[in-house]
């Protein structure tokens, strides 16, 4: 009799589970990503290629301990420092400055971000997100064309970079200001001393500058 009672209880629990709990459990399962079937075969090949040591890197336990303790504090800043270096950022007392060549970011006379520029912009996004401080994006052009046109183009380009960082890199839009300087702030001469065209100089001047504050600047 007691056994039958237990069976009845188990049955009730079973039906309750399927009506009330199973939907959420299945939802959890559906949320899981699917591993492509060929991935394991590729992994087997990769493992063979590594040889008997399987790519192991031996390290000192003392280093591991120190790493473990300071990881939370410095791990993040080390990664950001490495990314800043990759982008050729210049550091001042108050900010980091990254200059992105205009010819990589945009096609001639356009303000749509080129696909080739996405990797660099993505890294800029990482830095801005990690810094938690305000940033400014400033567009510059060379001196070819009308001054007013260049000013407008530089503003549009700065805004395009901001929009990309917000939509593709998850940067908070309220932390970025944009400006366009047109041809007013060259970093190289647009013409040679004899008055002839200086294409290298003009190329340097076509740029977008990203300034990331170190504090609330």
């Amino acid at each position: 009799m007691r056994f039958r009672g237990m069976l009845l209880l188990l049955g009730i629990i079973g039906w309750w589970f399927w009506f009330w709990t199973a939907p959420s459990v299945f939802a959890l399962e559906e949320d899981e990503i699917v591993i492509p079937p060929e991935a394991h075969q590729k992994a087997i090949q990769a493992l063979k290629a590594l040889g008997p040591e399987r790519g192991a890197i031996k390290f000192s336990f003392k280093v591991l301990t120190i790493e473990g303790i300071i990881r939370g504090i410095t791990g993040r800043s080390e990664k950001i420092q490495a990314t800043l270096k990759e982008l050729g950022a210049k550091e001042t007392d108050t900010e980091y400055r990254i200059e992105l060549p205009g010819d990589i970011l945009f096609d001639f006379d356009k303000w749509t971000i080129r696909e080739d520029a996405e990797e660099a912009l993505s890294k800029v996004g990482e830095i801005i997100r990690a810094s938690q401080h305000p940033a400014a994006i400033i567009g510059h052009t060379d001196s070819k064309g009308a001054e007013a046109y260049n000013l407008e183009l530089s503003k549009k380009r700065a805004e395009a970079v901001k929009q990309w960082l917000v939509s593709q890199a998850g940067v908070d839009p309220s932390r970025i200001e944009t400006a366009g300087k047109g041809e007013s702030e060259p970093i190289a001469p647009n013409t040679n001393p004899n008055g002839s065209d200086n294409p290298e100089g003009r190329q340097k001047n076509r740029r977008v500058e990203v300034r990331i504050c170190k504090g609330d600047c």
Partner: protein
Amino acid sequence: MKSFLKPLFGSSITLTLLGFGLLTAAGVIQTQESDIWEGLEADLTRISSRNDILTLRFKIRNNGNESRVAEFYFKDCYIIDPTSQKKYFPLKDSEGQFIGGPKEKDWEGGRYHCLIEMGSSAGFWVKFPVPTDNPEAIDITIPGFFPFEEVSLE
């Protein structure tokens, strides 16, 4: 017991056992908070081992009050065998891509990038070699999260 009740009892018990099985399968092995992205937590949901290959599955949950982007390069993930003091990186295919996913971009062997809305989650997976000394437990590092320590491989 009346004969028509027997199948009902039988199926009920089967359902109960299946239910417990499913609940166990949906469990979490270890959870770690993000040290960069406020409100994000990563669950290590499953470890499987086959042909000397470890497959790790994770779920990143956004418990915060705004959307967050989780982003890392697979090249920066690694596991550690603390006993033999050896570090292992994800397996890499013949095209130089780390075997893990999903990948938003192929840059530097693969980048994970996901915008996770408030209250939502997103998963990823990655394959490592089983450490040569067959340790009982390993430590796992995923960029952006505190390390998963002493994860049992038993």
